[in-house]
Every structure is written in structure tokens, then in C-alpha cells.
């Protein structure tokens, strides 16, 4: 490729063009669509993965299933999944993207919910049972609340991964921010490609920051691990452990 030194300038021009910020194809509308698709995908994944992970973790079984699931998912190209969905009756557009992204998001939610519940202190669990709580009550009032930080982390990872995956929609006629990149590449307008890539990255980082902050706010104060101290503590534990 030659003569793309101007890509940065072109990208700035594209981003500064008010026409690109208005209308049904404008950046705000595309961002909104991107986020809607992502939320749908995460909800779909959570609907399947959360109950399954919580149940398996509570029962203390299925660990190998969770591990296998998490490992295979890394090898399965989301791109392939997307194309496979798009060439079935699911069709082109946003639907195959949401489905593929949801499948992509299941493993992190599942593994974190599972580990979160597995790691609840045995003594605490027994104390709850000793106080006369039924298994279900202990799960709802004791185990799940204690596992919340990890469950939240899983949802967060999933959300960011999904937002990063949704741009693939551009390849199967879907919406969101992806089409900017794809059409820019197809027409060799590298300024647009750069601008699209930049927008996707900003969105990803913004959502990551927002969710990290939100999770911190929602965590009850006693359960918050002060960042610095926590890190130092784990390092110290690593230094003295085993």
C-alpha cells in the first residue's frame, strides 16, 4: 500500500465531519446500535451461563466440564461461528452477530460463576447450614452474595469481549461500528478505517472503565479489596506461600 501517510489526516477529517455524527447512519446511532447488540448478547449469554455456573458451583460438580468448555471456546474462531450462523436460516444482519457473540461470552461468565461459588469458604457454608438454612436459602443469602465479585468480573470480561466481537458484524451485513471499518477497507478509504478502529477502541476502553467503576461502587464496602493493599497482599502471600 502506498500513500497512506494521509490516513491520519483523513481520519480526523472524517471524525470532524458533522454529517458523520447525525442521522440514522451517524456515529451516535451506530454506537447505540453497537451497544444494544452487545447488551443483548451478554444478556443471552448470562441467561444460560449464570444459572448453570451457579448450580454447578453450588453442587461442586462439573469442574472438568467448565474447564473443557472454557478451553474449547478459545480455539473456536468467532468468525467461523458468525459465518456459519449467517449462512443458515438465521440469516444476515445483526441476529447471527448477537448469537455468535453470546456464545463467545458464555465461557467467561460460566467459569467465573463456577469458581466464585466453589471458592466460598467451606466453613461459611457449613455455618449457614448449621443455622438451619436450607441449601437453597444458603445459596441465595450466603453463597451467591459472597461470589458476587467474581461473578461480576466474569460479566465484565464478557461484556468487553462482546463489544470487541460485535464489529465483525460488518462482514455479514450487520450494524454497529464494524461496517465503518469494513466498508472503509473495501473502498480503500483508510482514513475511515482508522476512524472506525479508533471509535471501536474508545468504546471498548470506555465500557471497560465504566464497568470497573460500577463494580467497585456496587461492591459492599467491607468486601472491597483496596487496590494497592490487595495487590501487595497477594504478592506478599505469593512470597510466603507454599
Amino acid at each position: 500500500m502506498t500513500g497512506n501517510e494521509n490516513a491520519v489526516a483523513d481520519a480526523l477529517v472524517w471524525l470532524n465531519d458533522p454529517l458523520n455524527w447525525t442521522g440514522p447512519d451517524g456515529i451516535p446511532a451506530r454506537v447505540a446500535e453497537h451497544l444494544t447488540m452487545s447488551v443483548l448478547a451478554v444478556l443471552l449469554a448470562a441467561l444460560i451461563a449464570l444459572p448453570l455456573g451457579v448450580w454447578l458451583g453450588h453442587r461442586g460438580r462439573g469442574g472438568s466440564f467448565v474447564v473443557v468448555m472454557a478451553n474449547t471456546s478459545r480455539a473456536l474462531p468467532t468468525f467461523a461461528l458468525l459465518l456459519i450462523f449467517a449462512s443458515t436460516s438465521i440469516g444476515f444482519g445483526n441476529r447471527p452477530v448477537v448469537l455468535a457473540a453470546a456464545i463467545f461470552a458464555i465461557p467467561p461468565i460460566l467459569t467465573n460463576a463456577f469458581t466464585g461459588l466453589r471458592e466460598v469458604d467451606r466453613d461459611i457454608r457449613e455455618a449457614a447450614r448449621g443455622m438451619g438454612m436450607s441449601g437453597r436459602r444458603s445459596l441465595a443469602l450466603v453463597e451467591i452474595p459472597l461470589a458476587l465479585p467474581l461473578i461480576g468480573a466474569g460479566l465484565r470480561t464478557a461484556a468487553v469481549q462482546v463489544i470487541a466481537t460485535v464489529p465483525l458484524a460488518g462482514l455479514v451485513g450487520g450494524g454497529g461500528l464494524g461496517p465503518i471499518i469494513i466498508s472503509g477497507l473495501a473502498t480503500r478509504r483508510f482514513g475511515e478505517v482508522l476512524a472506525g478502529g479508533f471509535l471501536v477502541i474508545v468504546l471498548c476502553l470506555a465500557v471497560e472503565a465504566l464497568l470497573a467503576g460500577g463494580q467497585r461502587l456496587l461492591t459492599p464496602r467491607p468486601m472491597r479489596t483496596p487496590r494497592r493493599a490487595g495487590r501487595r497482599a497477594t504478592r506478599a502471600a505469593g512470597a510466603t506461600g507454599s
Binding site: A7, I84, L171
Partner: protein
């Protein structure tokens, strides 16, 4: 799955036989790209992790930066690179190296940090210098964690190569996309299965290599 439409099956041995030249070319491309990316990433990641380990002040920023870079979608990464490195192999390789590197730095660092300090003290007591300590004691001890990192990086890279198709160089992703555009399911499916097969074989090979390289870990788990 689609018995009603024999004209467009998901799996077709015929397709594989008649297009073997094409398929094997994509396969070779996919494998070389993966191997190259992971090797380059490893060569960069090892000193970086060792440096971060030697200077704990650096570990935080290095891991933080790696985490931030990791949230960047691969598609956006290729998009950002393409105006500068063009359409093709270089762009894909740079993107792949970046992702593999992030995984590797993290795992190598975790491995180094997990070493029993008594081992380190013992080596120091024997008069080992900083470099010798790292090369002959710390790295071998961190090997299990490094192998885990390598496996993780390799498997993710195999899947990521397919995204390279957006800048015109995606190995098996190329076949998937061509099959999609011409609505030929067997091509998509064959490429997908081969992709999974590469990841599976690579993972097995690395696991076996890791077992061979760390005989002490085996005896430890046995006893």
C-alpha cells in the same frame, strides 16, 4: 444437518478432494502465521517479563498496559495498522504478535513470581549472579506457567488468524469468507474444522513438550 439440501451440504468430502491444493495452501499459511507470531511474541515477551520481574515497580504498568491493549478488538487493531503497514501479511503478523505477547508476558510474570523464595535464596547463597539465577533457576522453575502461557497464546492465535481476512490475509479464514460469500457451506465448515484441528494438535504438542521439559514436575505430582 441439511439433508433436504444435498446441493449445499455442510460437509463434503468431494470438496476437500477437489480443492485440496487450495485448502493445503491456506492450512500452511495458517500454521506458519501462528508459529511465527507465537515465536516472535515469545522472544519479545521473555525479556519484558524478566525485566518487569526484576523491577517490581515496572510490573504494575507493564501488566496494566497489557490489559488495556488486550481490550482492543483484533478487528480494530488490524484496522488501525492497515493504513501504515498495508493490506497483507505484515499487518496480520503484527496484530497477532501483539495479542500473543500480552498473554505470554502475564503468564511468564506469574510463573516467575510464584517461585518459592527459598529456592531463590538457596541459589543466591551458592553465589549465583542475577543473570545466572534467572537463566538456570528462575526460568526453569517458571516453565510450567510459561508452557501454560504458550498453549493459551497459541490456541488464541489460531482462532485470531481468521480475522486477518479483513486485511486480506487470513489463512483458513480466507476459505471461510470465500465460502460465505459464494454461499458454499462445505468450504466454511471444512475451514472451521481444520482451524479447530490445528489448535487441538498445537495444544497437544505444546503440552507434550512441556511435560518433556519439566520431568521434575511429573515426579512431584506422582509422589
Amino acid at each position: 444437518m441439511t439433508t433436504s439440501a444435498p446441493a449445499n451440504p455442510w460437509l463434503s468430502w468431494d470438496y476437500v478432494q477437489t480443492n485440496w491444493a487450495d485448502i493445503s495452501e491456506a492450512l500452511v499459511q495458517h500454521v506458519t502465521l501462528t508459529v511465527e507470531a507465537v515465536l516472535i511474541a515469545f522472544v519479545i515477551a521473555l525479556p519484558l517479563a524478566a525485566l518487569a520481574f526484576g523491577r517490581p515497580r515496572l510490573a504494575g504498568p507493564v501488566l496494566g498496559l497489557a490489559g488495556i491493549l488486550y481490550t482492543i478488538p483484533s478487528l480494530a487493531m488490524f484496522a488501525i495498522l492497515s493504513p501504515f503497514t498495508g493490506i497483507g501479511r505484515t499487518t496480520v503478523l503484527i496484530g497477532l504478535v501483539a495479542y500473543a505477547m500480552l498473554v505470554l508476558v502475564r503468564n511468564i510474570l506469574v510463573g516467575l513470581e510464584g517461585i518459592d523464595p527459598e529456592i531463590r535464596d538457596a541459589a543466591r547463597g551458592l553465589g549465583y549472579g542475577r543473570i545466572r539465577l534467572l537463566l538456570t533457576v528462575e526460568l526453569p522453575n517458571a516453565l510450567p506457567s510459561i508452557v501454560v502461557g504458550l498453549r493459551l497464546a497459541t490456541v488464541t492465535t489460531v482462532a485470531l488468524v481468521t480475522i486477518g481476512v479483513i486485511v486480506g490475509y487470513g489463512g483458513l479464514g480466507q476459505l471461510m469468507f470465500r465460502g460465505f460469500n459464494s454461499n458454499y457451506r462445505a468450504e466454511i465448515m471444512t475451514a472451521t474444522i481444520l482451524c479447530l484441528a490445528i489448535a487441538f494438535v498445537a495444544d497437544l504438542l505444546l503440552a507434550a513438550a512441556g511435560r518433556l521439559a519439566t520431568p521434575w514436575a511429573r515426579t512431584r505430582t506422582q509422589s
